[in-house]
């Protein structure tokens, strides 16, 4: 391990008296916990579990699509799988995982003893298992799970049976959890930074989460409103979205995507933050253009509110509307481009090493950029009249979500796992996990670009034989990618319980930031006394130091 600094001393270790006040007993420790690290762990374990559940549903989809003809499942169950896969991955895997990272890392990065609102923190996590138990239970009900796609477009979603009420209530609970989580993040960052940790000294991960939290606060209530109107249309005879009763089915799409577009940035902005932590560490060079990165993130967040109808270029908007949403969407390429250029410039003339977190971060930059470029193609409204609702779109959003958000989650996990557990993970298995993931994720999703361009619509359980070859590639890639993730689980289990290799406080040779000034594993309580911050400890001192 060349990257572990040999000169690391234990001088920064906290006094033992502060190190541990863990409650005894399983329930006291986990159910009643108000500790940000324990709650972070709960979030991360829960999201990993949901990642595997949602992944299994994806494998049902890919198995049915392995060849033309229906071999395994009825079309209605297929639609339940596509719907549930998306709901689970978005609300159960990616979002809670980022909240887990926020819980663990934000207090340690800004020198705070805990999150600002610890009891609410406990509640916002413990709502989730109930929300997802309820959502998943609909699969076992007579009327089946939701099958109208995660976008829940009426009138189709209103054809769901009585189980629809459970879906709506589950979405409400997820929304409440997210809103409480984001209130907590904002309150913590605004009030609990250690003296000297000015806003423009905060690590990028803290910045991206702060902006994400505002996005969440702004749009989750909008989603809650939309699904509540679906609920009353379904069960109480209202006609918000029923044209026959004077309602408007297209209005739902506007409301949904007013939530839905910021939602995709909610899933990717924290990823930008993690990548902006990892690349400087392993390039041994400060992040290029720190201030520009902050402003680019804020610009992307702002733009995310005024581009929603690019999901709706085919609904028959007036020409002026289509033009506005096309131009606004194209603009997003500018701040996103700034981010990518800055990451490459961070690497430029550095002294790079390629431990697992760095490999995942590099994979992220390349594959997220491919997803970003296909997004630019989709913004061209006239061409989108062809792309829309085809596998080209499926390929696009999976590139930004899987080798985008999920790779960033994995990069972050490998980066901070030694800090969380106090032990080193197996670098060999981590690298194996990366290379297999990077290869199979492309076998899985790249051919879907071709399928979409050649005319395969999305959300179909069966297809014409002309699409057979690439579907087969994609399915094979899917199964191998799925199997590869068991290595990830194995590496984590090994690191937590079996690894014999202790981690230093500053795990990575040139890692900077307050989290590396506390011992590994991070003691149960950190920064009970605010740290004295000097320039060498903070990640981005350059902007204020001259």
């Amino acid at each position: 391990m060349s990257s572990i600094a040999a000169h690391e001393s234990d001088a920064l270790r906290m006094p033992d008296a502060q190190a541990d006040h863990k409650p005894h007993g399983f329930l006291d420790r986990w159910l009643f916990t108000t500790n940000h690290k324990d709650i972070g762990t709960l979030y991360l374990v829960f999201s990993l579990l949901m990642f595997l559940v949602g992944g299994t549903m994806a494998l049902v989809i890919r198995a049915e699509l392995f060849m033309p003809g229906l071999q395994l499942v009825e079309p209605d169950f297929f639609n339940q799988m596509t719907t549930m896969h998306a709901l689970i991955m978005v609300f159960g895997a990616v979002m809670p995982a980022w909240v887990g990272f926020a819980n663990w890392m934000i207090p340690m990065m800004i020198g705070a003893p805990d999150m600002a609102l610890p009891r609410m923190n406990n509640w916002s996590f413990w709502i989730l298992p109930f929300a997802f138990a309820m959502l998943l239970s609909t699969l076992f009900m007579d009327s089946g799970g939701p099958a109208a796609g995660w976008t829940l477009y009426p009138p189709l979603s209103l054809q769901t049976g009585p189980s629809f009420a459970f879906v709506v209530f589950a979405v409400h609970m997820m929304g409440i959890s997210s809103i409480m989580g984001s209130i907590n993040v904002i309150a913590t960052i605004m009030n609990m930074r250690a003296p000297g940790m000015t806003l423009l000294r905060m690590p990028l991960f803290v910045w991206t989460w702060l902006i994400t939290a505002y996005l969440l606060m702004a749009v989750m209530p909008v989603l809650a409103g939309a699904v509540t109107m679906l609920l009353t249309d379904h069960f109480f005879g209202t006609s918000f979205f029923n044209a026959a009763g004077g309602g408007d089915p297209v209005m739902f799409q506007h409301i949904f995507w007013f939530f839905g577009h910021p939602e995709v940035y909610i899933m990717i902005l924290p990823a930008f933050g993690v990548i902006s932590e990892i690349l400087p560490t392993f390039s041994r060079k400060p992040l290029f253009g720190y201030a520009a990165m902050v402003y680019a993130t804020a610009s992307i967040a702002f733009l995310s509110f005024i581009v929603w109808a690019h999901h709706m270029f085919t609904v028959g908007m007036p020409l002026e509307g289509e033009l506005f949403f096309m131009y606004a969407t194209m603009l997003i390429a500018v701040p996103t481009g700034v981010k990518v250029f800055n990451w490459v410039s961070t690497m430029w003339k550095g002294a790079m090493t390629f431990e697992t977190p760095m490999l995942f971060a590099l994979g992220f930059v390349v594959l997220f950029t491919i997803g970003g470029l296909s997004g630019l193609m989709l913004s061209i409204a006239a061409a989108d009249l062809q792309y829309h609702d085809t596998y080209f779109v499926v390929a696009h959003f999976h590139y930004v979500l899987v080798p985008g958000s999920v790779f960033a989650l994995m990069a972050g996990t490998y980066y901070w796992l030694p800090k969380w557990t106090g032990r080193m993970y197996s670098e060999r298995w981590g690298k194996t996990h990366f290379w297999l993931s990077a290869i199979f994720v492309n076998v899985l999703f790249f051919p879907q670009h071709f399928l979409g361009l050649a005319g395969m619509p999305r959300r179909i359980p069966d297809y014409s034989p002309q699409f057979a070859d690439f579907n087969q590639w994609s399915s094979i890639g899917g199964f191998l990618f799925g199997a590869t993730q068991l290595i990830f689980v194995g590496v984590i289990v090994h690191c937590v319980w079996f690894s014999r290799k202790p981690a230093r406080a500053r795990v990575w040779e040139s890692a900077r930031g307050l989290e590396w000034t506390v011992p590994s594993p991070a003691p149960y309580h950190t920064f009970a006394e605010p740290p004295d911050i000097d320039e060498s400890m903070v990640v981005h001192a350059d902007e204020v130091s001259h």
Partner: protein
């Protein structure tokens, strides 16, 4: 390391990245599979194809440059080569340049994208108007002002093969899942305007060779147009999730030269007039049952199943059902008006009086529902007129 070496490595990496892109984009075509958007058979589809190719090429160039720089750095600037890290953390002029250049690229892209869209939205001056209505899971085509209308659903061959574990190899079925019983017939060289709507849930009408898709939304009438340049058969599918058989409501357009189209249209008119006259006449039970079986297979069996057993929980059985064996008037009402909030459609808008009468006669006597009821077409016609 000297400057010449750096340049050589940079060029080599750029070449490698470009080759990787080429391999990624071109090699799959060698397998004989279609990998790109069709150029299509209309001026509009050619414009959309051109836009797609231009933006794709811009994206590839950006990708090659960004990844080229990144991999060059990965090759050169690694600790294992003894590279010492530089300390720079920003460069204002570079940042301004790579903000402004993308803006210029986007502006150059926005111009053709805007003209293409303006053209697409101009459906004026059409020679012929077709109303397209999406139903779960078929299309209805009406030639406005021509009194010709018909339903277009998945062909019987594909429908048999697409059942779960049907045992029929899709490769043996002609145009599997892309074939219908009654294709939409259109003239070549004429501007055709489409008025697109839906009866139940949202669908989307899409033929890739025409270059666009448009949502069919209940309560809305969307406009689109095409001008087909070559005679031929063009196939597409519903492109908006519309329930369990979303994957099984294809679109087939047969484009004919104008004289042949007019002949076809005239034949259709004669047929529909003949059909209208049969409504008034008295039908025998056998004729009604025979026709009813066919109507049931096309329009009812998807949900209620061939044997009338239904598909629990959403689609009730007709065999022994209180509706199919209960009062006739209530049964007629359900079929004509549908059931709100379920997939049961209002067939009064969809099928002729004769078809509905035949289907009702069939369902009230098949599957052991021996009611003995015979429903005459004129009964239905009178009900719908009130």
């Amino acid at each position: 390391m000297n400057r010449a070496n750096t340049v050589i490595i940079t060029l080599a990496v750029l070449a490698a990245v470009a080759a990787a892109f080429w391999l990624l984009l071109a090699a799959p075509a060698l397998t004989g599979n279609e990998i790109n958007m069709p150029v299509g058979v209309t001026a509009q589809s050619a414009i959309h194809y051109e836009l797609h190719m231009v933006i794709l090429k811009i994206c590839v160039v950006i990708g090659v440059l960004v990844f080229g720089a990144m991999f060059t750095s990965i090759v050169l600037h690694r600790k294992s080569r003894g590279h010492r890290p530089a300390e720079f953390s920003h460069n204002t002029s570079a940042e301004i340049v790579w903000t402004i250049i993308p803006v210029l690229i986007l502006i150059s892209m926005a111009i053709p994208a805007t003209t293409a869209l303006v053209k697409m939205e101009d459906a004026s001056g059409a020679d012929l108007t077709i109303k397209v209505t999406g139903f779960q899971w078929k299309w209805k085509y009406e030639y406005l002002d021509e009194e010709v209308a018909f339903i277009s659903a998945l062909s019987a061959d594909s429908n048999a093969a697409r059942q779960l574990r049907s045992g029929i190899d899709p490769a043996t079925v002609d145009n599997y899942l892309l074939d219908v019983d009654h294709p939409l017939v259109l003239p070549v060289g004429k501007k055709v305007r489409f008025l697109i709507t839906a009866d139940d849930v949202i669908h989307a009408w899409w033929v890739p060779d025409f270059g666009w898709k448009r949502d069919a939304i209940p309560g809305f009438v969307n406009e689109a147009w095409t001008l087909i340049e070559q005679p031929g058969t063009y196939r597409g599918q519903c492109a908006e999730l519309c329930g369990k058989d979303h994957g099984f409501m294809p679109i087939v357009v047969e484009a004919l030269p104008e004289p042949e189209f007019q002949a076809w249209l005239a034949a259709q008119k004669t047929r529909s007039q003949a059909e209208a006259q049969t409504v008034a006449s008295e039908w025998t039970t056998d004729r009604l049952l025979e026709r009813g079986r066919a109507v049931y297979a096309t329009h009812c069996a998807t949900c209620h199943q061939e044997d009338g057993g239904g598909l629990a929980p959403a689609f009730p059985a007709l065999a022994g059902s209180p509706v199919s064996t209960g009062p006739l008037q209530e049964n007629i009402r359900v079929v004509l008006e549908g059931r709100e909030g379920t997939a049961m459609q209002a067939f009064g808008d969809l099928l002729s009086a004769t078809d509905i009468a035949a289907a009702l006669t069939y369902t009230r006597n098949a599957f052991g529902n021996d009611t003995g009821d015979v429903v005459q077409p004129r009964t239905i016609a009178e009900t719908t007129q009130h």
